[in-house]
Symmetry: C2
Subunit: 119 residues, 2 copies
Amino acid sequence: MSKSLLELTPVEAVACCSPVTREPLTAEAAERIAPLVKAIADPVRLRLLSLVASHADGEACVCDLGDAFDLSQPTISHHLKLLHEAGLLDRDKRGVWVYYRVNTAALGDLATLLGGVTA
Amino acid sequence: MSKSLLELTPVEAVACCSPVTREPLTAEAAERIAPLVKAIADPVRLRLLSLVASHADGEACVCDLGDAFDLSQPTISHHLKLLHEAGLLDRDKRGVWVYYRVNTAALGDLATLLGGVTA
DNA sequence: CTGAGACATAGATGAACTTCGATGTATGAG
DNA sequence: CTCATACATCGAAGTTCATCTATGTCTCAG
């Protein structure tokens, strides 16, 4: 979190904003938030996120994830990259393996933003 | 809510499922949920949702919404249709005007699903 | 009935996205 | 050093998506 305000990640940008239902989103805010939502707007990425989150120790290596899908390894790698770039998954390379972990704060921010009702 | 289990709307399907972070989503669940997320994975639709939600009386007619965007009327109509089909906006035609209202339960379900952390 | 206004639908176009096979990179074993 | 393994990157192919213009439908006023 050593970034200036001008280089906020999507996740950080979301965290600062009011829930969608309270006041109109500015065009700029919507442009920052949409990519984050888009990152989870895919069945494969939803399952990847879910698999990582519910995995033992809260992390999973790519080798564990690929088996659940009928997709090629590069495709899984691609989806993991998108989730990582959105700030929803953290990467940790240990030896030959790469472990992914859910950024729970990011998911929470997103949920809060959408659920102005329940917040 | 007079539908059988086999003709659930996306919104109803979401409402029945566990948060993403608790247990792995099945492929089928992910396929049902993703379209709902995709419906709000666009800056224009995020703003539309936000505009309707924060409008006086909780509803807004199309004529109120179009002015906020630099887009053609059919494009706005298209986005409203997607949000309506996803179950996030309710329609009500009164005379010549069509009023949209946010389905807060649907938004809440979505937020709950994503925010397994905060739920 | 006729015309105008509000909104939806239809078809077309260009951009973005998902997926793949092929290839590249890095780590560790022998 | 050499090779196998784990994962990422790189185009390419097919599909989906956002947007537009043109047109259709519905409602009300006159």
